[in-house]
């Protein structure tokens, strides 16, 4: 444990030693910081809502505060499970993951193009409107305007705000990309381009075809588009953003190039082609064309190729770096390695669902939540945590306040997510075994009785994650307040404020470029 977070005092501040990168960081400082701060705010909101929603899944429990929760949910439409649960998931996916993702995309795009960002005011406008869209959408859900379509619950008036905010951001990113310095191509850019290109397609098609201009009579096609959308958000928006960051940060922090870099290209293309087909995991046995499902299961079953290649190269890079340096390398690295591991586990859960018999067992159980948590909380959140720990000191030239808080955050998040996944996974199997029991005497009540203890356990584990997230948010706030006080006072309290090891900014050797 002592070597997991070695704390040393940074010798000369946190700004990158590379003047070009320092200029880039300075140019995107405020848009990225606003993204991070608002994202952390949505994380706190979303996690709190999630604890509340999860506690409503076991109403028989007589824990004191539950009585209050249940009274609220019974008597006020705002607090009913069917509104709080989608609000929680949307706050996490759009407010936390996507807002943080926008910040990471801005930073990574500016860094990999090595050109100081243009038009920060336009960027700031986009970020503000994005947050406005999320806020309007959540209020809409609470007031009963939810569309009831998974991950597209935001009412139409909020979708338009989000989409326009994203369009402005997209214009900025195209302009930045066109103004890039030649000769600095990075594989992270390819992943980033996928995410930036996929989101408007997904969100545009999803919200237009399903909520703003739904087609009466199209029947089950609506659910098909929604399945494509939900899995597109995981596999073509969040996953590429997270992988881009991992491909950029892991070599940069460890100082060695990505292992098996020559396989990066094949991993990239196989992921783009196979991963979105995980959508058919929500269609097996349903009223859909059989051939679509069969072909889809085969294609999504091939997801093990990119998952294995990406996992192998990222994780073995981390282990090689550890061998060389004798420790895990600072505050940031454990989070990123864990994110890479979570990516592989999420890939395995998709792999499991692509087996028809396993899918039939687990389809309608809490295993599906396990899958969602693996992508959003397990994989993507850890990328964001690691990245924020890395990026913020470089933007503000100011260190994190306490290694102890980072350590508590790390372990609560780690055990929280591990336990949640274990509970939802085992609970899903038990629930599935009951639901699919060939004995006709078994009813839905039997299945509810089986799943309830796992729901209680999941609530407790989500509370553990919530504690970790809360500590992270407080730490960020503390850091910001101290930074402001320092700016006002104007003197540097060297040793007191710098509690993060300084990882050099030596440009790591990039892997082979990705252009076809």
């Amino acid at each position: 444990m002592a070597t997991l977070f070695p704390t040393t005092v940074a010798p000369r501040g946190f700004v990158s030693t590379d003047p070009e990168l320092a200029a880039v960081d300075a140019s995107v400082r405020w848009p990225v910081m606003v993204c991070f701060l608002t994202a952390v705010h949505w994380m706190v909101v979303g996690t709190f809502l999630l604890v509340y929603a999860s506690s409503l899944t076991h109403p028989q429990d007589s824990f004191p505060i539950l009585g209050l929760f249940i009274d609220l949910s019974n008597n006020f439409s705002m607090f009913t499970y069917g509104r709080v649960w989608p609000a929680a998931i949307d706050a996490l996916v759009y407010g936390w993951a996507s807002t943080a993702g926008l910040g990471l995309a801005i930073w990574l795009l500016a860094r990999t193009t090595r050109a100081p960002a243009c038009a920060p005011a336009a960027l700031m406008t986009a970020v503000v409107f994005w947050n406005l869209g999320v806020a309007i959408g959540l209020i809409g859900i609470f007031l009963g305007d939810s569309t009831g379509i998974e991950l597209l619950e935001f009412p139409t008036y909020a979708s338009w705000v989000l989409w326009l905010a994203y369009a402005l951001f997209a214009l900025w990113s195209v302009a930045t990309y066109l103004g890039r310095r030649p000769g600095h191509d990075h594989i992270a850019q390819a992943w980033l381009l996928v995410a930036l290109f996929a989101f408007p397609w997904l969100y545009g098609a999803g919200s237009i075809l399903l909520s703003s201009h739904p087609m009466p009579g199209s029947g089950v096609i609506q659910e098909l588009i929604d399945a494509w959308y939900v899995h597109g958000i995981y596999t073509l928006w969040l996953a590429p953003l997270g992988l881009g960051l991992l491909y950029y940060l892991i070599p940069k922090i460890s100082g060695i190039s990505i292992r098996f870099g020559s396989k990066a290209k094949i991993a990239f293309w196989t992921w783009i082609i196979f991963a979105p087909w995980t959508a058919v995991h929500d269609l097996v046995g349903g009223p859909f064309p059989a051939e679509t499902v069969t072909v889809g299961l085969i294609l999504s079953g091939l997801i093990f190729i990119p998952v294995a290649l990406i996992g192998m190269s990222l994780i073995s890079t981390a282990f090689t770096a550890e061998d060389k340096q004798g420790h895990h390398g600072g505050v940031v690295f454990p989070f990123l390695v864990l994110a890479a591991v979570a990516f592989v586990v999420a890939g395995l859960s998709e792999q499991l669902l692509s087996i028809r018999s396993a899918n039939e067992l687990l389809r309608f159980t809490m295993f599906r939540e396990c899958n969602c948590f693996l992508w959003v909380y397990g994989f993507f959140s850890f990328v964001v945590f690691g990245s924020i720990y890395y990026i913020v000191p470089r933007l503000l030239d100011f260190g994190w306040r306490s290694a102890l808080l980072v350590r508590i955050h790390y372990y609560t998040s780690l055990y929280g997510i591990l336990l949640v996944i274990a509970m939802l996974c085992f609970g899903g199997v038990m629930q599935g075994n009951t639901l699919e029991n060939p004995d006709a005497q078994v009813t839905i009540v039997t299945a509810t009785d089986v799943s309830i203890s796992f729901h209680i356990a999941a609530t407790m584990c989500i509370s553990l994650i919530a504690i970790g997230n809360g500590i992270f948010a407080l730490h960020l706030g503390w850091m910001l307040i101290d930074w402001l006080r320092l700016r006002v006072r104007g003197n540097r309290l060297a040793a007191e404020i710098l509690l993060e090891p300084y990882e050099g900014d030596a440009p790591a050797k990039t892997t082979k470029e990705m252009a076809a």
Binding site: G148, I149, P276, A279, R356, R363, E513
Partner: protein
């Protein structure tokens, strides 16, 4: 991505990869199932399935807004895939009182403005809920307090879909009949709001007591009148 042309070919390939999924997953099934028509009986004007009332369609919005679909599915898988038929979710009586037990077909959903197939079964499947709750009074009571009828239920109570009002003159016809613990104070009654009424109308429209035999494999069905 050294030059613009490299970027163009990268982007082109990306577009092709995205289109591959979009066409295979959405466009093809859409062409196949997006424009299904009801089946018309030979020699009569009856069609199967039939449309539900306007109140029931309004109920879809209540169903969506309160997130019923996060715990309830509305799809019955075939006997070869899962135990839905064994759970009894695929059974409903037809007009003659005979049991129809079958899976769900795409054509079952053509009249629904919004389709809620659902992905979670914390609650029972609702494809044929009107078979198990044939009258509105039972559904109102269940929505108002599920524990009364089923102490193991993890379904929340929906008190907010009802109002407690003073009885003036005759009691309302659709006032809830509740056991003592839940009942309104003397002189008062609990009645469903307009939202509850449309939600219940929607739930009562969920019953698939008819055969769609020619559609077994999801192949578009050609109405007999167009056959030569």
């Amino acid at each position: 991505m050294n030059s613009m042309s490299n970027f163009r070919s990268f982007f082109g390939l990306l577009l092709v990869a995205f289109l591959f999924t979009w066409v295979g997953l959405v466009v093809f099934p859409w062409l196949e199932l997006g424009h299904l028509a009801p089946i018309q009986d030979e020699g009569s004007t009856d069609i199967t399935p039939w449309d539900s009332s306007g109140t029931a369609h309004a109920g879809e919005h209540v169903y969506a807004a309160n997130g019923c679909a996060y715990c309830h599915t509305q799809q019955v898988r075939p006997a070869t895939s899962g135990a839905d038929i064994i759970r009894g979710w695929g059974t409903a009586k037809d007009e003659d009182g005979k049991d129809v037990t079958r899976r769900s077909y795409p054509r079952d959903y053509i009249w629904q403005g919004q389709v809620f197939l659902g992905n979670s079964r914390d609650g029972a499947d609702l494809s044929n809920v009107a078979q198990r709750f044939p009258d509105a009074a039972g559904l109102y009571r269940y929505l108002y307090d599920p524990y009364v009828l089923n102490p193991h239920s993890s379904m929340p109570a929906y008190h907010f879909l009802f109002i407690t009002q003073k009885i003036s003159g005759q009691p309302s016809r659709d006032a809830l009949v509740l056991p003592e613990a839940d009942a309104a104070p003397a002189g008062y009654e609990i009645v469903p709001t307009a939202q509850a009424k449309s939600l219940v109308a929607y739930l009562l429209s969920l019953k698939k007591g008819y055969h769609l035999k020619p559609d077994e494999a999801g192949i578009p069905y050609v109405p007999p009148s167009t056959k030569s």
